[in-house]
Amino acid sequence: MRGPSWSPRNKAGMERDRRFWRIVLLTPPLLVFAVLIVWPLLSSFYYSFTNWNGFSSNYQFVGLSNFQKIWTDRLFFQATINTIIWMVSALLLPTLLGLVLALLLDSKVRGRKFFKTIFYLPICLSAIVVGQIWIWIYQPNWGLLNTLIEEITGDRFRYAWLAKPDSALFSVIIAWSWQQTGLSMVIYLAGLTAIPSEILESSASEGATTWKRIWYIIIPLLVSSTTVVIALSLINSLKGFDILYVMTGGGPFNSSDTLAMHMYNESFKKYLIGYGSSISVVLFLIALIIIGIYFRQLRKVDQIYG
């Protein structure tokens, strides 16, 4: 059998072919990325300086007036506070609960494989399904939560968790954390397997209590897992629109609006696309700052722990 011919002319031809196929194969994903991500992003920036209502082709440039309006929009400030509450809670609750569950399941608890599966299951469900499940749990007349409270207290209890402004946002945060905890737990469990058992055994033989071992040995050695958990929780919390949309839609009367929800309502319910775009620009800048801070901290952690 004759081998391939390696003349310089053939080599140049093959290189040309490779370049051609590289372009051909890269073009579709780049086009999709440009059309679905880059173009809408740039469009949002553009429309944030207009008074476009989404329907009309006759719209005007209004300069910075949409951004000025943000400062007088009380719902924007309420949404900002809710966004901070949402992000901090969505970061802390699943992280802490995931760590506690991982520590419990890493010990020799009977049926830990079963519990691992149970705790991980919610992450396999879509946010819409999780939202619907929790709507049923919170249902005031026959929901699981109120029924449970009634069973315990013996009194009639009909609190409408999702319909009251004081509890709506926190009720959604609990549903969100319930789903996300499984992910943190699995990452921490993987991190725990990487901790050498000799260190834990020697610290135990030198009289370190369980609490001291967790605080001074396990948690510091789980720093890389924590980094991953925080990164994922942060990204997921920024994306956490769907569950809020399903469970409260920002209601009752805007009390659980986050910035993303406020942007959606202004754009698609009030038909103020220009103003909605300016909110999305502010949201984009906030996300950029948070991610910037996160990467800076990540570098510091890398420098300390290698």
Binding site: F55, S56, S57, R158, K164, P165, G251, K270, Y271
Partner: protein, 422 residues
């Protein structure tokens, strides 16, 4: 491994481009449509009416239904992407006005006149629902009436034989029901809009249709004594415990179920509730009935409230002829109109539809609208969308804590004034 050579690839791309270029020519016989009739009965019935159109003409319908609430967003997204369907369903009133102002609709005056729709469409509906900025844009497909729907057995068990016609009679009815251990009124305001009918009727019956029209157009304020009076009457009903607990936690179907089960006696809702209840096996007249919202002030014209579902044509339609044919057929064909109104629990927009097609409750609704002095669109269709958003939130906020009514109304007046400037 066999490579595709460049010639083959380019040849394939050219072939695909050719197919793409020739497709619009083939699509001339296709009419694209998007609509919000997605309830189990509505979706099936609308599909059947489209089949009748296809059978009667050479056109094919390409259907893309979207859920009622999602439709409000979906149609905006499609408009902003300049990809509106040839035909879409829409709510007559401020919403059509909004897109007509944006020049996103095709006028249908010529088709309307040629088809003689003036003689086919009910005049009260045609006058209020089809004209915008001096041109005709919408063909009414059906309309609804909002009334006080009640459980006949619950009323009979409480010894109530006569339904009230005035406000004092209504208060006495609520008192009687409550003393019998029955919650008089169910309301499911989770999605906010079901609460609007209370505001609509209280204001219409106390301040009259002219004042309400001014308020809806931004020529009156939510701080006015007329609005305060209407809200005061609403508050008195809530304070007396006549409304069911946690209205904001329930949807309109939850409230309908509460009445159907007898957990509450009545609910203020549109005639679409009849389609829902009939689907549950309730018998019109025997299991449920309705009475018109009682009069409050003597001398105030009686107005009926409800939405008109219409069909409109996108300004950039690629098949205007097919789209117009479809609109004409759907309102003119009495078979389509009769079947549709029956399935949807709606009133027909076509005056030639035989009234015997209606059940006893729908016939009563038809007569009530016919004998009304005016027909008014419900709140979220009567005022521009940015204002409607403020008002709908106000109703839900009020239902959550009526004791803060003054503060709520003050805030609403400010927010509405801002929204009218948008």
């Amino acid at each position: 491994m066999k490579y595709i050579n460049r010639r083959t690839l380019l040849g394939t791309l050219f072939a695909l481009a050719f197919i793409g270029l020739t497709t619009p020519a083939l699509a001339q016989s296709e009419v694209t449509i998007s609509h919000y009739f997605t309830g189990e009965l509505g979706l099936k019935a609308f599909g059947e009416q489209m089949e009748k159109f296809e059978a009667a003409t050479s056109y094919k319908m390409k259907n893309s239904p979207v859920g009622h609430e999602d439709f409000k967003t979906d149609i905006l997204v499609r408009a902003s992407g300049n990809s509106l369907p040839d035909v879409f369903s829409y709510w007559a009133g401020a919403r059509v006005q909004f897109i007509a102002d944006s020049e996103s609709l095709k006028p249908i005056d010529q088709m309307w006149n040629q088809a003689g729709l003036d003689k086919i469409v009910a005049k009260t509906v045609a006058d209020s629902a089809t004209m915008y900025n001096g041109k005709r844009f919408l063909v009414p497909f059906n309309y609804h009436y909002s009334g006080m729907f009640y459980n006949t057995k619950v009323m009979a068990d409480a010894g109530i034989t006569e339904m009230p016609t005035d406000w004092n009679g209504f208060l006495a009815l609520c008192k009687e029901l409550k003393s019998n251990g029955i919650t008089p009124i169910a309301l499911g305001s989770k999605n906010r809009w079901p609460a609007q009918f209370w505001f609509d009727y209280l204001l219409l019956r106390s301040a009259g249709p002219d004042y309400r029209a001014q308020l809806m157009a931004g020529k009156a304020s939510y701080d006015d004594p007329q609005v305060k009076q209407a809200m005061g009457m609403w508050k008195a009903l809530v304070d007396a415990g006549y409304f069911i607990e946690s209205a904001n936690a329930n949807t309109w179907t939850d409230a309908s179920d509460q009445v159907a089960r007898g957990d509450a006696a009545m609910t203020l809702m549109g005639t679409w509730i009849t389609g829902y209840w009939n689907g549950l096996g309730l018998v019109p007249g025997a299991d449920y009935d309705f009475f018109p919202f009682p009069s409050i002030m003597a001398g105030v014209p009686s107005a009926s409230v409800g939405p008109v579902d219409g069909l409109v044509i996108g300004a950039n339609t690629t098949n205007p002829k097919g789209a117009e044919e479809f609109l004409k057929f759907m309102v003119s064909d009495t078979g389509v109109q009769a079947a549709w109104s029956k399935a949807q629990g709606a009133l027909s927009a076509n005056v030639n539809v035989d009234a015997s097609n209606y059940n006893s409750v729908m016939l009563k609704a038809f007569e009530t609208v016919k004998n009304s002095d005016a027909f008014a669109f419900n709140y979220d269709l009567a005022t521009p969308p940015p204002v409607a958003e403020v008002g709908l939130s106000m109703f839900a906020r009020f239902m959550d804590d009526p004791s803060r009514v003054d503060e709520i109304m003050k805030q609403t007046a400010q927010d509405v004034a801002g929204a009218f400037k948008e």
